[in-house]
Structures are given as C-alpha cells and as structure tokens.
C-alpha cells in the first residue's frame, strides 16, 4: 500500500497543475533553484551538530548515561535494550536508524523489543538537529521551554509506545 502513496501524490500534483494551466517544467525549475542556497545556509549547522554528536558517541557518554538511567527507564516500562536508542534519538537521525537496524537483526524483526524500537523511532524526532536547522536563518537564541517540552513529549511517547506494543 504505502509504496503507492508517493506516486499517487506526484501524479495528482502534475494533473492538477495541468488542469490549472501551470507550466510544470518552468515552475519545477524555479523551485529547484532554491535548493542550493538552502543547503549552503544549513550546511554549517548540520556539520556542527554532527561533529558534536560524533564526539558525544565516541566518548562513550551516551552509553554511560544509558546504563545510569536504565533502572529508571525500566521502572517506566522501557526495556534496557532500548535505553540507548531513546538517548540517541534526539541527536542523530542516521545514528538512531543504524541502531534500529542492529536491534531488528539482533532480536528479530517481529519481537517485542523490535516493535517497540520501531514505534519509538516513528513517534520521535531528531529534536536538536532539526531545531538548529529550523532556526538557521533567524537571530533567535532563546528558545525558552521549546526543547524541554519536546523532550518530555518524546519520553512520554516512548513509554506509551512500549505499553501499546504489549497490548496491540
């Protein structure tokens, strides 16, 4: 089912544009032109965040944090095998997908642990990375409560995910 969604959207968009007499080719080129300046703008942010995450992972801090917080997370219903994933997720998208893949292969794709991991990843976002990129063109320095609220919601989501996977 899901593989047909994108093609259907594309066909619909082009048909709609055709009906509205929009020159699809020229408009596409016009939009595509904006891609390079956008990437040039956000590249320094991507690079800085990725360097910080690499240092964080290489230093073993995420692992030690995971071990440290594991009893608390167990109490909240998150299995120990998934604690590192919960910690890594706000920082790195590629890193957490790589970790998900390891979990899937290690515990089997249909096991409880793997299903939880999938739902946790599906309901969360690389909060730090995304925020840095979103604000790259503004002067905003103070985010007030945005990051804490986002992190709380992700944690609640992870707890709920582990609960729901037991029932459904």
């Amino acid at each position: 089912m899901s593989i047909y969604i994108l093609p259907i959207i594309f066909i619909f968009v082009f048909c709609y544009a055709f009906c509205k007499k929009v020159n699809a080719y020229e408009t596409f080129v016009k939009g595509a032109k904006k891609a390079i300046p956008l990437v040039v703008d956000i590249f320094p942010y991507i690079a800085s965040i990725m360097i910080a995450v690499a240092l964080l992972r290489a230093s073993g801090i995420t692992e030690s944090l995971a071990t440290l917080f594991s009893p608390l997370f167990n109490f909240l219903g998150i299995p120990s095998q998934l604690v590192e994933l919960v910690f890594l997720r706000p920082f790195t998208g590629s890193g957490s997908y790589a970790l998900l893949n390891d979990i899937l292969l290690q515990y089997g794709a249909d096991s409880y642990i793997s299903r939880c991991a999938c739902v946790i990843l599906g309901c969360s976002e690389t909060i730090f990375y995304v925020t840095a990129i979103y604000l790259s063109k503004t002067k905003i320095k103070k985010l007030l409560y945005a990051i804490p609220v986002a992190l709380i919601c992700s944690l609640v989501g992870s707890i709920l995910a582990c609960l729901l996977c037991k029932i459904i």
Binding site: V39, A109, E125, V130, A146
Partner: protein, 182 residues
Amino acid sequence: MIIVSLVFLTIKNPSSILNEMLTSSASAFTLSLELCSVYVVWLGILEIVDASGLSEKIATLMRPLIKKIFKVDDPITQQLIAMNLSANMLGLGNASTPLAIKAINHMDTGNQTASFPIIMLIVINATSIQLLPTTIIALREKAGSLSSADIVLPTLITTVFTTILAIILVNLFSKIYNWRKK
C-alpha cells in the same frame, strides 16, 4: 556537553579526537549533498503545488485548526504551516524541513527570543503525527518481518497522544512564562 565529551576522549583516546571531528564533518558534507538533491526534487514539486493553488486549498482545509493551535493570523504563514504539517503526517521529513524553515522565517520578527507560534511549530514537528512511517516499515521488511505494517497503529496512537500533550504543555508553559515575566 561538548567539553565533557572532549575531556572523556582526551583521557580515553586522545589521538581519535581530530579524526572523529574530520570524519563527521565529511559525512555532514555528503549528507548535505544528498539533502541538496532531495530538496531539488521536493522544492520543485512544492513550487508546482504552490503555483497551481493546491497549497491554498490544503491551507483552507486546515486553517481553523492552525489558527486555534498556533494563534497566527497571517494567511501565508498559515499556508506554510499547513503544508509543513501535511508533509510531516505523510512521513516526508525531507519535504517538511524546507517548509518549516520558510514558515519560521515568515514568523521571525528579528527578536532573540522565540515567539509562541515558533515554539509551537518546533514542538509539534518534534512529535508530529505519523500516518505512515515509510522508512521504518521498509527497514523492518528488510530484516525479515512477516507483518511489517503492524507498527502503524501503535505509532499513530502514540503520535496523536504526544501531539495533544505537546499542545497542552506549550500553552501551559507559555502562560507560566508570561506570568513570571509580569
């Protein structure tokens, strides 16, 4: 955080620091190139969506909800937020990022402190409702799952719940913040 990791690394393996930094900046560069090609496709498609008036249609559908949640009155901002949220729901993270950047630039007043709608957009993007977690389903299938789509329902329930929670919490925190400022 960075200083702590640097200190840790200096104790454990001092020669690896520069190496780690260079490797990750190299992978940031390849990622940016990949993103650039992805954005070419999506920004092209989105331009057509814009020019054909389709994004206005989507925005009109979602306008009452957006007005209530984000408390913004500017129609262009509402439209950008509507597009960002719809891309997010379909699991098209790569299409939603440029839209979010545009929306935030539209809401930006040059202040150093983030305003209510900007915070709301960031938090809602962080919890975003997922109708179809496409990448995750594909990964599961590759790992030999027999029912790769059975995570769709729990994911949907969880994201709906966390999104509602996010909206409530942002409202609550902004009230506390305004009250303390007084």
